[in-house]
Every structure is written in structure tokens, then in C-alpha cells.
Symmetry: C2
């Protein structure tokens, strides 16, 4: 089985061959810029890894891998508009450099490019791949809308939150793996299990993201901790603290959320202290582990030799125990 690094190499070579050139330059330059910003390339590598696990041809899976990566980047371009995000991966966002109109349109064009890549998949599986892909794409949009709704909703339950990240993040991760398995000719039951494996590691992945945003090491995580706290983002950590904290804890948190005038460093310190007191980091880790165990269960069900599962379990571990 090829490792994550080997598959990432294969993907990067394929991606680098793509020029994202075209006219007008005002449209394609931002697209090329975004695709060169890097990132983990998690979704395309998972797609290739699943294809490899079933003995599929990696070459055949590269167009679908490009499809999910370009689509994922399209969603980031549009998310950055909605979040008024200035920075992404340590660089200026398209929204910040070229403005909103171009960010909208560059994103739309990336969506058409994503489908164009999928069209290059030459093994007669376009129909099912496209079905899986658009289904996940729609879920990503739905998840983003829930995420926006939460910003103004007073009462967001933990199950609302988990449903949101399942749509916004896990769906495309599960689907990327499933698409790779489809190209690798996996059977119906395996397709269902690899999808469930991906959804569950996707959930753990997002919870880890929430955790790193508060407890991450700035040198390793690459950004200052507390961004979610400052923006009053209703993460798993915050919702859990509101759910199990004392009425005094809740009051402190809610006061900070209602008042944008206070000292930001004090806000991060005080809310982080409440999280620590309430063991929110351990509770979140336990929740992550529940998803990890479910993911492992679905992996065990796969009708594959154990040695074909090694890279899948290794990436799941990496997604759980990463520090960036």
C-alpha cells in the first residue's frame, strides 16, 4: 500500500501539471493562487488511498482527486467571503486581495473545473461518482448555512453542532474515500463502510480542529490560539462548557459573548480557564475517541486483507493525534 506521503506526492505532481490558466486573467489568477496555497490535501489523498486499498489504478483516480480538492478549495474561497477572512494558510485570501466579486466568481468557476475533472474519469463510472459528489457538495452547502445560522441563534445544542460538522466537513471526507473505493471497484457493503469510516474520522478531525484552536501550540499550529473564542464561534468546546458549566461559568462566557469591547487576551484567558476547570479538553478528546472507535469498527468490516487497511488506520490516527 502506498503511504500518505507517497500518495501526496502523486497528487502534487498531478496538481502541479494543472496550470489553471485561462482568460480573463482576472478570473484565473486568483484560482491559480488559491490552488498553490497548499494545505493538507487530505480529501484527494484519502480518495487515492481508498482506490489503492482495493487495488485500483491510482492514475485513474487522479482526476476525481483533483475534483474533490478543487471543490474543497472553492468552498474555502466562498467561506472566506462570508467570514470576512483576511488570511488563509498564512497568506491573504482571494477576498482580501481581489475583492468580493472576483472571489464569488472565481469560486463558481472552480466548481465548474471540479466537475470538468470528474469528467476525465474514464472508466464508465461517471454517473455514480457524480451522484456521490453532488450529494456531498450539497451537504457542504447545507452545513455552511447551519454554521451561519448558529452565529445568531441563541440556543444551539451539541447535537445541532455535530449535525452541522457532519454536513460541512465529514460528508466530503467520507465521500472522497467512497469515490476512491468506487474507482477501485469495491463492493456495495464496503462502499457503505468506507463512507462511514470517513464520516467518523471527519467528525474526529473537526473536533480536533476545535481543540487545537484553543489548546494548540502556536509554533506547531501556525496561528495564535483563541481565534474561535474571540469570534464567539459556537464550537463543541463552547457548547459543552455552556451545557455543563456552573451558572457563574455561563455568565462569564455569555458576558464576553455579548460584549465586544473587552480585552481580547483577557477573554481568551478567562474562557480557556473555564474550559480547563471543566475538563473540556478531556471531554472533547473522549468524544473524538468515540468517533475514532466507530471509524475503526467500520474499517474492520471491510472485506479487505488486513495489510490493505494499514494506511487507512494510520491516517485516521494522524488525523486524531496531529498537532497542526
Amino acid at each position: 500500500m502506498l503511504t500518505y506521503e507517497e500518495l501526496l506526492d502523486r497528487f502534487s505532481i498531478a496538481l502541479n501539471k494543472e496550470q489553471f490558466a485561462g482568460r480573463p486573467a482576472e478570473l484565473y489568477e486568483p484560482i491559480a493562487y488559491m490552488m498553490e496555497l497548499g494545505g493538507k490535501r487530505l480529501r484527494p489523498v484519502l480518495l487515492l488511498m481508498a482506490c489503492d486499498a482495493w487495488g485500483g489504478n491510482i492514475e485513474e483516480a487522479l482526476p476525481a482527486a483533483l475534483c474533490v480538492e478543487v471543490f474543497h478549495n472553492f468552498t474555502l474561497v466562498h467561506d472566506d467571503i462570508m467570514d470576512n477572512a483576511i488570511m488563509r494558510r498564512g497568506k491573504d485570501t482571494i477576498w482580501n486581495i481581489w475583492g468580493e466579486d472576483t472571489a464569488i466568481l472565481a469560486g463558481d468557476t472552480m466548481f465548474t473545473l471540479a466537475i470538468d475533472y470528474l469528467l476525465r474519469t474514464g472508466n464508465g463510472k461517471l454517473n455514480i461518482l457524480l451522484h456521490e459528489f453532488t450529494h456531498a457538495a450539497r451537504k457542504v452547502c447545507e452545513g455552511q448555512q447551519y454554521d451561519m445560522n448558529f452565529e445568531t441563534e441563541e440556543e444551539v445544542s451539541i447535537s445541532d453542532y455535530l449535525n452541522m460538522i457532519r454536513l460541512k466537513t465529514s460528508a466530503l471526507i467520507g465521500t472522497s474515500l467512497k469515490m476512491g473505493a468506487i474507482i477501485g471497484d469495491a463492493g456495495a457493503e464496503d462502499l457503505s463502510n468506507i463512507h462511514a469510516f470517513g464520516e467518523n474520522i471527519g467528525m474526529a478531525f473537526q473536533l480536533k480542529d476545535d481543540l487545537l484552536d484553543v489548546f494548540g501550540n502556536v509554533d506547531k499550529f501556525g496561528k495564535m490560539p483563541g481565534g474561535d473564542i474571540l469570534s464567539d464561534k459556537k464550537t463543541f468546546l463552547l457548547l459543552k462548557a455552556l451545557s455543563i458549566g456552573s451558572s457563574k461559568d455561563k455568565k462569564v462566557i455569555c458576558n464576553y459573548m455579548d460584549d465586544d469591547q473587552g480585552d481580547p487576551e483577557q477573554k481568551i484567558m478567562d474562557i480557556t480557564a473555564i474550559y480547563k476547570k471543566l475538563n473540556i479538553d478531556k471531554i472533547t478528546t473522549t468524544e473524538m475517541e468515540r468517533y475514532y472507535e466507530r471509524a475503526k469498527y467500520h474499517l474492520q468490516q471491510l472485506k479487505l486483507p488486513e495489510e490493505n487497511k494499514t494506511e487507512l488506520i494510520s491516517i485516521a490516527k494522524k488525523m486524531m493525534y496531529r498537532d497542526n
Copy 2:
């Protein structure tokens, strides 16, 4: 052959069956609202008309017709954000009612829905239909970017403008007809000719739009004339006036374009007077007729009995000689 009205009925019945319901409601309500706003339904009807001309099954073509109409409406939703457009078809725009973030996301979701519809086309032609569709979709994005570029560019030539409307408007009209012909099993040469027919009537259609915006009858056109003049839109009329007008004419126009403070009614009156003096309406009509003649030429080349072409020629005439 079924008439435009009959095909519009068939399409409307199919569209009305679609609920555009889903969760979160904050996402799907705007989509349902947009799809209920109406409009000419030109692209889906042309698609069905082409299918009918080759004796194809209208039922089979309905999903593709829904695809192009939902996609077209998606582009309008995003265009309205970029144009800060308050009204569309006499009603408030999504941007105006629900704000920018939801307008971005509702548009994105409509794109996924459009592809979902195409997936329902059950006759093994998904690959070619999707290829044609995404190709046109990308052109629409490119055309919109050119249109935005023109807002700030000093020198826009008439050929730049014609290239822009070919991408932004004509491409999808030509492709809608071609998709219908594909479903109707037209041969390769016919596909090329029906596409060229559509592109040319699309050009005439857009020029007519420019013309109606200045010289349209308010009761029939449904909006006050002069919107393009007020927004300094570089239409065929304006670019032609700048190209053939006297230096005094150009100075009047450029002064109005540089100064947003003047009396809007006076601006419309003065610029319209220049257009009239320079015979811009007749020149535009002559240009439209050139495209119409080319469209007719491609129609003549089609290997179809003459009676199968009657509705196509009739709709081309309607698009040329409409007053709204």
C-alpha cells in the same frame, strides 16, 4: 412540432413539481423563491424544442431543461450580489431580502441542484451532456468576469463587448439547444449547426436587450428605460456611440460617466438624444439582423425536414422582434 407555449407548459408543470424544499429552511426558501419568480424560461424551452425537432422524447429532456434553468437562475442570484441589484423580475432579489451570505450559498446550492437534475437524464448520455453543460457554465463565469472588468476599463472595444456577451449569454443559449439535440439523437454536424444557431440568436437577443433598455416602452418592457445609461454600462449602444460620435458627443457622454452628481433624467435624455442623432438604434438593429441571418444560415444546414424547423425559426423571430 410543439410550440413555444406548449413546451413552456410542459416545462412549467415539471418545474412546479419540484419543491426546492430541504433543510436548513434558511437555504432552501430563497432557492424556492427565486425559482418561483418566473422569467421567460428561454433556455429550457429551447432545449425541449431542439429535442422535439429531432423527434426526441420530451419527457427524457425535462431533467436537462431543469438543469439549465436552475443553473441560469444560480448565475442571476450571484450576478445580483455583484451588481448590488435590489430588484429582479419586479420582486426583491435574494441578496436584498436575505443578504449576501445566503445569496452566495443559495447560488452554490442551486449549482449542485442543476447537476443533480442532469443526473436524472437516463439515456446514457450523461457524459456528453455534462461536458457541454460545464463548458458553457465556465464560459458564463468568464463572460461575467469580462463584464465586471469593463466597468473599470477605460477602453472597451466593440469586439471585446461582443466576445463578452457571447460568453455570458449566448454560450448557454447555444448549449441548451445542443443539449436538446443530443437527447434527440441529432448527428455531429447538426449538433454543431444547432449550437451555432443558438449562439447567433443569443447575440441578437442580448443586443435587443441593450436596445430595449434605452428605447423600450415602459408599459411593455416592465421597467423605466435608461437603467444601463444611468449605471454607465458599456453596452453595444454606448460603445458604438463613442466609436462613431463626434468629439463633442463623446465629451458629453464621458462627462456624464465621470460625474455621478448630475440630474439622472437629464443624463438619460441627453445620451438618448445622442443615440438618436447617431442612428444607434438602427445600427444596433442592423447588427442584430446580421446575427439573425447567420442563425438562419445554420438552421438551413440542419438535416431536418423543413416543418421540423418552423418552431425554431419562430422563436428566433420572437427573440428578435420582442418588446419585452
